[in-house]
Amino acid sequence: MNKLTEERFQKKENRFVPYIMSCHPTYEASIEIALTLQEAGVDAIEWGVPFSDPLADGPVIQQAGDRARKAGGSLRKALEGMKEARQQGLQAPVVLFTYVNPVLSVGFEKVIEGMKEAEIDGILIPDLPFEESEELRKLCNEAGISLISLIAPSSSHRMEKISRLGDGFLYYVTSLGVTGTRQSFSDQISHSINELKKTATVPVLAGFGISTRDQVRHFQSIADGVIVGSALVRFIGEREQALLSENESKEALKEIKEFVQELIS
């Protein structure tokens, strides 16, 4: 049932996983964007939950979150939206990206239940390091949901511990900074990803600050795939008016599809 752990995802090469935010710019539009990404040929989708204080994210995602919350966005709405996206034909593996406080506020059990209903395959909580995740990990295991772990260049001796718990995939943070598009990546990162891949039992995806086709290719050559967040969220944000317009939304979705295909190509 968990599409992340199925062979199709686990054995794929050059995985490409985009991040979009639920209810950004509206509930309906975000569902349509998810379906568009599937058409564009992505390997999985990170489905973001808007939150008031996204301290691991940069300004692009924070602003998107503010917009999404104005549109009624929340963890509950994100679960509901994905349920609807599944009904409309979304087949790709989906990872719920949320900060821990909304999860605590709703309650671990209820969130797991909601994820199961929405056929969400994994969950990634950037401010829940593995030391704090025991309880949730247990519940996820029982529910067959992957709790995605992050690894950073600074993780050093923690790397082994974390990679051992890897489930679905490992999210390698390609910068010390928060999410957002960046110009250069350190050589050390290549080395560090190679080291990680030696011990990892699941694919290692690189993310944080990847925004161009060249960067995508570069990291696909080093890691087992890439995650693109801010660059896509910004592209969507710039098309907010069009996405909300009956006449222009089709064209906007088409642009999004082309943007992603260009990154993958």
Binding site: S52, V100, I151, R158
Partner: protein
């Protein structure tokens, strides 16, 4: 890293390394005599510790009950207890070889303390401050710049303390190798709440010694205001195992029955903000609610995790007083003792005003006078202007 269920290290993996490094560094100096000697020297010879313990005789008579004593943290260099912790963390940062200090600030007091310490120890300093707070606290911004700090304007969210903290954390993530994040209260991920508590415990330790010297016994009750909660935690901690009633006072703003307050323990739910699990003001979706208090230093949506624990186990009692009650108590202290307290502190004094008469003259009520009110004169003038002109 836990106080009962509270506390923890809810931060991105990118920061875990820095927190482990900090924890290790803190453990290495925690019982180090040389560090203790250096810190004691700075506290004494630079900040002017020990701070005085003042018998408020006229205020006691006026309220007609308990004998009131004031622990005078307002007499510290820069005018509040904040410097105790800033000096200690600054010294630790220097020992760890960090060259840059970052800090978040709301009203500017912790920013000034951090900038002060950076200047004293020769480190560079960036202070993150919400654009809205920068507008309201123009003079403190100028003070920080005068001290050589760079004040970084934060435009995200409500553009106040909470957002400045987010931004400071983000900057830390990106610059973790040379940067020390100097957190100003008993909040944030482990080891901060424990470390800041320990660094502020000098308030309670000195009080205990001074009380014994002056009246040969401990006070019957101790009162302190609580925003993040560092002055209260530093005052309470050394008395935790003693037979002393401990009371923390939150800001009820315009009333806990209104949406405009900062009474986290009274009205909050458990949640995670800025790296630790505690009580929070949040909506039903888990988004943080902007708090309100006339006091910029109490207007924080969270509270130190150890306070949450002490409340839940019943060791410390927490109450909330309104803006108006605080301002009335502030005027009393001015007129009966010649001391202008910070509006934060005035919240603790409002509790005293309401409760001193329930105690007898041979009972002692000790108040942590956390800071001076010079910084608040403009606000006080706006509120009381009509009455006092």
């Amino acid at each position: 890293g836990r106080f009962g269920p509270f506390g923890g290290k809810y931060v991105p993996e990118t920061l875990m390394f820095a927190l482990e490094e900090l924890e290790k560094a803190y453990e290495s100096i925690r019982h180090d005599e040389e560090f203790a000697r250096q810190l004691h020297k700075e506290l004494k010879e630079y900040s002017g510790r020990p701070t005085a313990l003042t018998h408020a005789e006229r205020l006691s008579d006026h309220y007609g009950g308990a004998t009131i004593y004031l622990k005078r943290e307002d007499l510290n260099h820069t005018g509040a207890h904040k410097i105790n912790n800033a000096l200690a963390q600054g010294l630790l940062a220097k020992k760890m070889g960090k060259t840059q200090i970052i800090a978040e600030t709301g009203a500017g007091q912790h920013g000034v303390a951090s900038a002060t310490v950076a200047a004293r120890f020769g480190m560079s300093c960036k202070v993150f401050m919400g654009a809205e707070d920068i507008r309201r606290q123009e003079l403190n911004v100028f003070r920080m710049r005068l001290l050589g700090a760079e004040v970084i304007e934060v435009h995200s969210g409500g553009k106040t303390l909470k957002d400045a903290t987010n931004e400071a954390i983000r900057h830390w993530v990106a610059n973790v190798h040379d940067t020390f994040y100097l957190i100003g209260s008993v909040v944030g991920p482990h080891p901060y709440p424990m470390m800041v508590r320990d660094f502020q415990s000098i308030i309670g330790e000195e009080s205990k010694k001074q009380m014994n010297e002056r009246i040969g016994k401990l006070p019957d009750e101790i009162v302190a205001c609580v925003g993040g909660g560092s002055n209260a935690m530093g005052m309470f901690y050394p008395f935790i195992n003693d037979d002393v009633k401990l009371t923390g006072i939150e800001a009820a703003g315009k009333g806990t029955e209104t949406p405009e307050h900062a009474a986290t323990l009274t009205k909050g739910r458990k949640g995670v903000l800025h790296g630790s699990l505690s009580y929070l003001l949040q909506d039903e979706d888990g988004n943080i609610i902007e708090p309100y208090s006339i006091s910029a230093g109490l207007d924080y949506p969270g509270i130190g995790p150890e306070h949450a624990h002490l409340r839940d186990i019943g060791r410390v009692k927490y109450e909330a007083v309104t803006d108006d009650e605080a301002m009335a108590a502030l005027q009393d202290l001015c007129q009966f003792e010649g001391i202008l307290p910070a509006i934060e502190t005035a919240h603790a004094l409002a509790y005293v005003k309401q409760n001193a008469q329930r105690m007898s003259k041979d009972q002692v009520l000790l108040v942590c006078l956390s800071g001076r009110g010079d910084k608040d004169v403009h606000t006080i003038q706006q509120v009381l202007g009509g009455d006092n002109q």
